[in-house]
């Protein structure tokens, strides 16, 4: 009886051991290597085909420049493009910072006082659903400078998702935990500090990721609408300008910088949310099965 059960145990163990061996260190490194190499190779192929098409069919550069033309534009217009990048970055990140501070602060105010929420939440919704492009002309009249218009537009777009996520998060605290705080006669500040805020962190992270992307969109759209003055030009204005002048290589270069900015913001905000949640939240955990 015991020999039979040992045999079956041996049989089930063998394939298990085989699968375990399949994931040897060498294989693991190779697999990771593939994860990096495959997308890079794809990119290279796309660029080569692009270059080949443009060269063979003699596509004019004001319609579709080849990758080499774009690189040349990068090098030639380096000072102008990077000062534009700097303007776009500074507007995007200041708007995001303001939206984070404002969104969290207002959400806390809403959570502490349901009356405040009842009074002001509808206005927040109205601000959100009104397309920002439609408000921009009004802002241009009111705001002291173009820079301020861009900042306000980008802020308004990024603010709402942070506010609504944070408000939701502060309301989603485990009811029993709040009861526990009641039993220990905790103050309103202690509830906020020890349960509500930490419990809202996953929602904050979501707001941050959405708000980060929207802040960039907001600053680009605002610049399309409001334009800009000489030294204060951002990437969006450079794109418009290059388009009007049919300087398509420069347009591509500027577009590439905006995309790179978007990707950077995405990774940055994802990384921050990972840092905030990695120790405890389901979304940040890696599982074996």
């Amino acid at each position: 009886m015991s020999s039979i059960s040992m045999e079956t145990a041996g049989q089930t163990a063998a394939p298990l051991a085989a699968t375990a061996a399949a994931e040897s260190p060498m294989r693991a490194i190779f697999r990771r290597f593939l994860h990096v190499v495959v997308p890079l190779v794809t990119l290279a192929v796309v660029l080569l085909v692009w270059q080949w098409y443009v060269t063979v069919y003699e596509v004019p550069r004001y319609i579709l420049p080849g990758p080499t033309e774009v690189i040349r534009a990068f090098v030639a217009d380096y000072p102008m493009l990077f000062s534009a990048l700097w303007v776009t970055l500074s507007i995007t990140f200041s708007a995001l910072a303001l939206a984070l501070a404002g969104g969290v602060f207002v959400a806390i105010a809403f959570a502490q006082s349901p009356w405040l929420e009842r009074i002001f939440y509808p206005y927040a919704v109205v601000l959100q659903v009104t397309p920002i492009v439609a408000i921009a002309p009004l802002l241009i009249i009111y705001a002291p400078s173009t820079h301020a218009v861009l900042l306000m537009c980008a802020f308004l777009v990024a603010f709402f998702p942070i506010l609504s996520n944070m408000t939701q998060g502060l309301k989603s605290t485990d009811h029993n935990l709040l009861n526990l705080f009641d039993i220990y006669n905790a103050t309103a500040w202690q509830r906020l500090r020890y349960v509500k805020l930490p419990g809202a962190l996953p929602y904050f992270a979501t707001g941050l990721r959405i708000g980060g992307g929207l802040a960039l969109i907001g600053s680009v759209v605002a610049e399309f609408t409001a334009g800009s003055a000489g030294t204060e030009s951002g990437l969006a204005f450079r794109i418009l300008e290059a388009g009007r002048r049919l300087n398509v290589p420069r347009l591509f270069a500027a577009l590439l910088l905006i995309t790179a900015t978007g990707v950077t913001i995405f990774f940055l905000t994802s990384f921050i949310s990972h840092l905030l949640l990695r120790r405890w939240h389901e979304s940040a955990l890696t599982r074996e099965n």
Binding site: L177, N179, L180, D182, I183, Y184, P198, R279, L285
Partner: protein, 283 residues
């Protein structure tokens, strides 16, 4: 109805029941004709009176909807009673007229903060009273040692099993050295083996710590195994229908479960419980 409301006097005469230090016949908490009506009109609890004396282990036993959890939450001060009073005769009162109760509450769920380590979870009640981490460390570690989790202080709740999480919850409850421990079906969600082990832990801690325990359960066997007194409740409206002393002697261990006395006591309690449910069915 058996021995209604005479139980506590009987028990006081029973030397086999361990009792807290400095006991007197004054109840530590007394419910006086307490009723609770929810906003939707449901009568959750009606005319409940209950004296709990220091050192008692009282189980509130009944089917779901009998108001046993509501009664416990009222004792804990979570939501006010619609009618009646809850008195704490041995507690001092604050200027605002609030009793200074030394209570802890254990929920059915472990109710831990997932973002905090085991240490920080257990530290919480002390932290809310302004005790610094350094000053709290010894008491927190003592509490963890009492539930056998001192090696898990720096772990996060997600890394623990259901039974271990419940132990953390118990450690958090006992770290304030409460006089009254209120437990709301704390082991209902656990498997039978873990549950029996935690029952033994609770009995041991009750003996060591001099607690008064009010324990809500729907399990006859758990009530009989743990309590010195079993209050049987019925639903619609939630009310007390019997107050039974449990004469099984302490200390109790797993062997008690197989004795004839345990079986007899369980049968007696079951019968009372079923009578109450039959009455329900005829309404």
């Amino acid at each position: 109805m058996l021995q209604r409301y005479s139980a506590s006097q009987d028990m006081a005469a029973d030397p086999s029941v361990p009792t807290g230090a400095g006991r007197s016949d004054r109840p530590i908490v007394a419910m006086r004709d307490v009723g609770k009506v929810f906003a939707n009109g449901t009568i959750a609890l009606s005319g409940m009176s209950l004296d709990v004396r220091p050192g008692e282990f009282v189980s509130l036993l009944g089917p779901s909807g009998c108001g046993k959890s509501t009664a416990l939450r009222l004792v804990a001060g979570l939501g006010g009673a619609s009618v009646g009073r809850i008195e704490w005769p041995t507690s001092s009162y604050t200027h605002a007229g609030e009793p200074e109760r030394e209570i802890s509450f254990v929920f059915q769920e472990p109710t831990l903060m997932p973002w905090a380590t085991v240490f920080r979870n257990v530290w919480l009640p002390l932290r809310l009273k302004g005790v610094s981490r350094r000053a709290a460390t010894e008491r927190v570690m003592d509490a963890l040692r009492m539930v056998g989790l001192e090696k898990f202080a720096e772990h996060y709740p997600r890394e623990l099993s259901g039974g271990m999480k419940m132990r953390v919850s118990i450690a958090r409850a006992l770290v304030t050295r409460p006089k009254v421990m209120l437990m709301d079906e704390p082991f209902a969600a656990l498997d039978e083996i873990t549950r029996q082990k935690l029952n033994d832990d609770i009995l041991r801690l009750w003996g060591d710590q001099g607690w008064t325990v009010i324990f809500v359960t729907h399990s006859v066997f758990e009530a009989v195994y743990l309590s010195s007194r079993i209050v049987v409740m019925a639903a619609r409206p939630g009310r007390v229908i019997a107050d039974l002393p449990n004469t099984l002697s302490y200390p109790r261990s797993g062997d008690v479960r197989t004795t004839a006395d345990f079986a007899a006591a369980s049968r007696e309690v079951s019968e009372v419980l079923h009578q109450s449910m039959d009455v329900d069915a005829h309404r």
